[in-house]
Point group: C2
Chain length 265, copies 2
């Protein structure tokens, strides 16, 4: 499974401080820890919500250059602003990166998808449109179809698209867990060349024992066809859950990774 | 989810002793504990492997009569011998019982399915045939189709059939987890009126941390459409996993059972 480490995100207040004060050691420590935990990508989101667009581009350049000088792991350049994405990609150059993200709405499709072509990088596509996150599987898949069409138009192959089916809290609407899981299955049926990734933890917002719930949801998603997750790679229990889920769906030959992980715990 | 308590099974050596010595108090204690844990059915399998067919019929009568005099929970009459099933059903009379089981082979279809009609009871159908447990989803579903045809012939409605997709250890063949899960999905598509139940624990035979693996597999199966499980209802962690899985697939309104279960743990 593709693991995308989620901790360098300026919506977390301690990380916001690190970004604003350009604390090199603290940022590198976060990157190194997540790389050591085995992340396939380290997500970088520097949107503090308080700076200007220019500030955010500068912060993204700073973060990418600092981290890539020290850490080999691929980066996930994460912003809602296409210009910030571009700044990160320019700093990243030829090294591996995932563009996070576009939605199925015209503004994003016309400004973010061309970056995937220009920089020759894979891209995350959110299963949502101008109206927000659809409540039904059908409409989420329709948003994905718009993204596929834009990628076709700009010459980005479907293999490069990583769809995020999106997760809403089940505490608000208990049916939303199944909507996400069924969206994964529908995407894998409609667009078999595309990958699927998701941020797990939102599903359990407002519930007790969130780790227990998140693990169950991750396992169901793996069976539904999930290829990767944006997650806390520092959480050993969750990383163990990844090993377990991979073995249960037959993606771990002779259950070797599973057995190695659990034998000494 | 339908929970079928698995502990009264003479293949467990301590239970074999209880059956052979007709230890009323010990048998009742097992039944009462499992009922108190919230089992929907208590399975009764008295096949010690050492007695005659007459002994086994007599043991089944003894166990059913003893338990139903004290415990309200429905019983699951479990034997590979149609005459033992009949003895249990005769003792059970009009009270709720599940017949466990028939296979998709002529001998069983002709001797067990008529019992479901005669005693007006639901029946477990194993997704296997004369050749044993098929390795492929297609052949397991074909075995189920034979059972459906026999039930049609004898007048047992499809709503009464509880299919067991069967579980083989992934330590021997890592693909078998997916075969079981995909069989559940295929059964729910082909025969939507039928239910699906399975014994979970066999999947993790030979692996470390079996409870962790079993929980992951149960959650995947719930998403695939599993309606019930033959399981250790005395295992609090596993019963918690049932609550969690039900909430994640939207079968727990407002996540009430989930929250009630986990708030105080």
């Amino acid at each position: 499974m593709i693991t995308i480490a989620e901790k360098i995100n300026a919506t977390i207040s301690s990380v916001k401080t690190i970004i604003e004060s350009r604390d090199e050691e603290a940022l590198l420590a976060l990157a190194r820890k997540q790389a050591a935990a085995g992340a396939d990508y380290i997500d970088i989101n520097v949107g503090t919500g308080s700076g200007s667009a220019e500030d955010e581009k500068e912060a993204m350049r700073w973060a990418v250059e600092l981290i890539q000088a020290e850490v080999e792991t691929a980066l996930c350049i994460d912003s809602a602003d296409p210009e910030v994405l571009q700044a990160g990609l320019l700093a990243r150059g030829d090294r591996p990166a995932l563009i996070n993200s576009t939605k199925g709405s015209d503004h994003y499709l016309e400004s973010v998808v061309p970056l995937a072509k220009e920089f020759d990088k894979p891209i995350v596509g959110l299963a949502m449109d101008e109206q927000g996150i659809p409540k039904t599987v059908e409409n989420r898949v329709a948003a994905c179809a718009k993204i596929v069409a834009a990628c076709d138009k700009y010459g980005v192959p479907q293999e490069r698209i990583h769809f995020d089916p999106l997760v809403l809290p089940v505490s608000t609407d208990v049916k939303q867990g199944m909507v996400t899981l069924s969206t994964i299955q529908a995407i894998k049926e409609e667009f078999p060349a595309c990958k699927t990734i998701m941020a797990i933890s939102n599903v359990s917002f407002g519930l007790p024992k969130r780790a227990v719930f998140n693990t169950a949801f991750l396992h169901m998603a793996l069976f539904a066809g999930l290829d990767g997750a944006i997650m806390n790679v520092l959480d050993e229990q969750l990383m163990g859950a990844v090993r377990t889920g991979e073995a249960a769906v037959g993606r771990d030959k002779h259950c070797r990774k599973y057995s190695r992980y659990w034998r000494n715990r």
